[in-house]
Symmetry: C3
Subunit: 139 residues, 3 copies
């Protein structure tokens, strides 16, 4: 059983955002999958997907502050700077975090741990809407 | 062909640990898969899975020392600090390394390179036991 | 439908390289897949795969300069140093970026975003040729 759909996320401010509920709402077929995988893919190079803590919003804020420290804007070695100071750091963050998640499906539900949620990493100041491709496979 | 099982890893000290043998021991069905994938997923947000060198233990030690330098404890910008100094860095390391691995299966074996092994990244001082979901698919 | 093949990439200099065309050329079966996934796996621990910008080569140069800053050669805490100054940093970069990509397939094509391309991260000075395992699945 293979199913694929796209999901367009509304524009969000720079930072990390919990999108588990939005992804689940786009997957009515999930409950028909006994054993499988959900692949979530973002079609952009300046935003990312990661799994992390689904409760305390300060974790998302700390993650953003950490990445801004670790991947600075305006580093003297950047040559790709004509799209703004946030552009090259966004590309680097996107590769550090990744563009896709593969999540196990068990008995019609994502087999996430108690504290795991799906995060969108929006790394541009004005990233606009972001497009996901959801591929559900299994039996 | 889809099969899924869980594997609970005994508690390990903070650092990186080679777990290839333990994962393989939990997969008696692997030899029945001609062509496929193994998906290994960790249900936690303060531990991670990665592939790296399967021989010299100093690689695992250097990795731990590097991540402790790159993701410091007690950074002044952390707000999520009530679960201990190792907590927020553990969340960041978990996202940098990732919560899952997808590995090709060929003729009943993992098609890893000669030097590749599956590593658990334990990022908490007292992480306790960790739960994996193993999903094997193929034909 | 499952298909698997290997692809050996010619040696490349240290840095990031766009390999989308080479991967696609190795996948004549791709156009037969209506809905599926392509899994691209590198069998090495000192090179990596990532998705990033497929146009401006300065993005690849900036990425290399950033990783060289963030993961320094000759750090005082490295113990694994007998294979050269570029060796331990290469292992760390490989884990930060990852050894595999899972890409959605739609109507016989990779469903990448407009600006997304497949990058090889060559993290050794003399990495030699690199071996990929391509696993195509779907219907």
């Amino acid at each position: 059983m293979w199913q694929q759909s796209t999901l367009t996320l509304a524009p969000r401010p720079r930072g990390f955002h919990l999108i588990t509920d939005e992804v689940l709402a786009a997957l009515p077929q999930l409950k028909a999958v006994q054993t499988g995988l959900l692949h979530v893919f973002i079609q952009h190079t300046s935003a990312s997907l990661t799994l992390n803590e689904n409760a305390d919003p300060t974790v998302r804020g700390d993650m953003e502050r950490h990445f801004n420290m670790a991947v600075p804007q305006g580093a003297p070695y950047y040559r790709h700077d004509y799209e703004g100071d946030d552009d090259m750091p966004a590309h680097i963050k996107a590769s550090l975090l990744g563009a896709s998640l593969s999540l196990p499906v068990t008995n019609g539900r994502l087999a996430l741990g108690t504290w795991q949620g799906i995060w969108l990493g929006e790394h541009r100041d004005q990233g606009g809407s972001r497009r996901l491709v959801l591929t559900l496979m299994g039996e």
